[in-house]
Amino acid sequence: MPYLVHSPEDRAAMLETVGVQSMEDLLVDIPRSLRMESLDLPRGLSELETMAEISSLAARNRVYPDRLTFRGGGVYRRFIPAAVAAVTSKPEFYTAYTPYQAEASQGTLQAIYEFQTLIAELTALDVANASLYDGATAVAEAAMMAHVHTGRDEVLVAGYVHPEYVEVLRTFSDGRGIKVRTGSEPSQKTAAVIFQQPDFLGLLVDARALTAAAHDAGALAIACVDPISLAILAPPGEYGADIAVGEGQQLGLAASFGGPHVGFIACRKDLVRKLPGRLIGAAHDAQGRRGFVLALAAREQHIRREKATSNICTNHSLCALAASVYMTYMGPEGLRQVAEVSFKRAHALAERLTALPGWELAFPEGQFLNEFPVRVPRSPAVLRKLARKGILGGLDVHRWFRQLKGVLTFTCTEVNDPRALDELVAALEA
């Protein structure tokens, strides 16, 4: 049987050492009425047969080439340097556990400490944690922090925040009796104003004004940001946001049908004790050597139990490692180049798309980076036509927003080369 190591002789010898006759003697505490004859599953397969079955399922999924994918909505195709997988596929990283024994886990601990620093640098905030599950739960966790910090029971979602993030926020909030309101006017009851920059449609919001409005009402400002955009855009710390969160998929992670990716959260230092999840800090041994440890663990579930700031135990370390390798590979210039190329290509594409008969920008006044909403005649037919030509066209956002009938958001990054733009436009003109 695959992956099992004992031979029948080993089992017999071990039973003898234990001092019992058979396996049954070790299972005596299980009531007879609960015992099963066997599991109702097919028998196991060889690796060859297993992979044939798994591959045949994979073959029933259509894979659009990166360069012909123009759909984003929270998951984007980006160039992923080979260095990322080369690092994350090192078994010393991917088969280790949460670094409870610091001396034997310095690789993971230091890599995550670097991740915390990278995210803090990118967002221009004081401290970032070791990762969260995804952008959606990061928004929800930030809202819970604001609720605890302000003692207020309402959070305000301003503008087009990713609808799935808002759904997750509602599920978190319901359990704790917190109200989720949409709008842009905070009140004295508002714990936080949550906005996304750029928003779900790709448009820039006035983050400074939203932050100021939150602060005027005594609320926190939570900025949900695209990490790559921060090579170009003013970071949350610069305009005074209290907490920055976001989805890190674009930092070196495959689309993978939506996960696993990585959420991040950073905050001002006076909020650090309310941060959810793991935090790594620097420490020294008796010889004065620097090492890294799990820090401020007294906030966490395994110490504080029902009084913990969150229930998070396993987070998304390996995805955070991927993001760290990506950011380190890019460096400040590389990240800026990626963001600028995406910006220029998206603007070139927007110009060409809006030259098509009946196509127009859904928000002509709106500024965007690399994703933008266009109003498109007969949008479902357009998407079907593109699919027939092997192109994954824009995302139909009408599914979430009734007022956006016929609106598709197109995204363009460094992987969509100029010829891919030509192919897209040619397919639409055909």
């Binding site: 620093t117 970071p235 020294h284 370390s317 210039e333």
Partner: protein, 498 residues
Amino acid sequence: MTEPLSFELSRPNAPSPRLPDADVSAPGPADLLPRDFLRTHPPDLPRLSEPEIMRHYSRLASLNYSISENFYPLGSCTMKYNPVANEAAAALPGYAGIHPYQDEDSVQGALELMWRLEQALSAVVGVDRVTLQPAAGAHGEWTALRMIQAYHRSRGDSRTEVLVPDSAHGTNPASAALSGFHVVEVKSGADGRISLADLESKLSSRTAALMLTNPNTLGLFEREILDIAELVHATGAMLYYDGANLNAFMGICRPGDMGFDAVHMNLHKTFTTPHGGGGPGAGPVGVKAELEPFLPTPTVERSNGHFELNYKRPRSIGRVRSFYGNFGMLVRAYTYIVAMGGDGLRQASEDAVLSANYLRKLVGEDLEMPHEGPCMHEFVASARNLSHDGVRALDIAKALLDREFYAPTVYFPLVVPEAIMVEPTETESKATLDSFARAIKEIVAEARSNPQALHDEPQKLPVGRLDEVAAARQINAYLQGSSDDPVLRWKRPSNEPC
């Protein structure tokens, strides 16, 4: 050996990576965006060439213990071998390369895999439906409690308390509190199992659920589980199963048959998806029919051989995560289940139980075993017998590190003083277990002859014991404004140029 931080290795004039130019004529951000939208100073990311980056991470990797190189008997964590075929499966372009918002027709294989995984997990734990959306075990616990809360509310029953045994994982009370419940602790009896008398005294019409893991965190099967279930259900409460210890009885018995109404599973424990140094995991939740209406949206449904995502679930608790969960981990777990089959999973659990009892017998020669056996897939020893030598569980843990074993879980569960919780799993050979037992024997002998030497371990690792207390003090100083060193991140010395 230690390794400098990437930030410390960074050189101001290191070459930046070669990336494509835009090759289109279009304005740049500075041409179009208002000035106060733009970043004024670039983020201070490291500047390193690829060769330097690769060496940096290879050196970091060499500082870790991992299952690939070390026995990792971390109790409650089920550190078993992570099959490499799982990794190959998840990397197939047909899985890694699909977008979550593709049309359902174009992702039938992915949806079918999720549907089949749901069927398989349902068969293993004995439930009617499973959601694959939760990203980790604690996330699954919380998801289950939200469903239980919704169930009670749907019946006009506002139950406010969740009962949690004193031996439970810390995530249990935390998840309950975050769902808005008041946590009530239930005591363990002298035999290490839940005290029925204490349970009975704490159950009431306020009780929404009892959270239980079975075998419990002492590795003992709750023999009276059927009575427990009856007591809980008689008050109208639900029984929740913490799946951390599911590796003990796959194919032998099922939580659903024991009376559990909601069951979370850790794919990163029982079903061999790697832990990744602390995630990503996956924490699916199985439920009995009465909780089915409250499952997160969307669910995966099959109709006429076609698979679809069902969003029309008016009584659902809503979403708990974006998209469909940690899909890549679902692929790995399903690959494992196909390879093992029903017969293999059962043998895995039997071997896990046998290995734990075998190691318990050997280790029992040197450490105290506070509870009577047999155990299931793990056991809890106590280092209390060494306390007169001034040696603690922590010292044993550190001494094991010097002998190239990762340490067991220590000081958990809280009900055992100087607890050392060992879970060998089915993928460690008898020879490995023997050598671990020998190491314990040596360490205990050293505790008696030269306890000071143990306090100084580990000696052979990149760093010795780190002063967490001093680090915490420094963090406090930073948070209170009396120090500039954030401790929780690297900060460029103020006299150094970017």
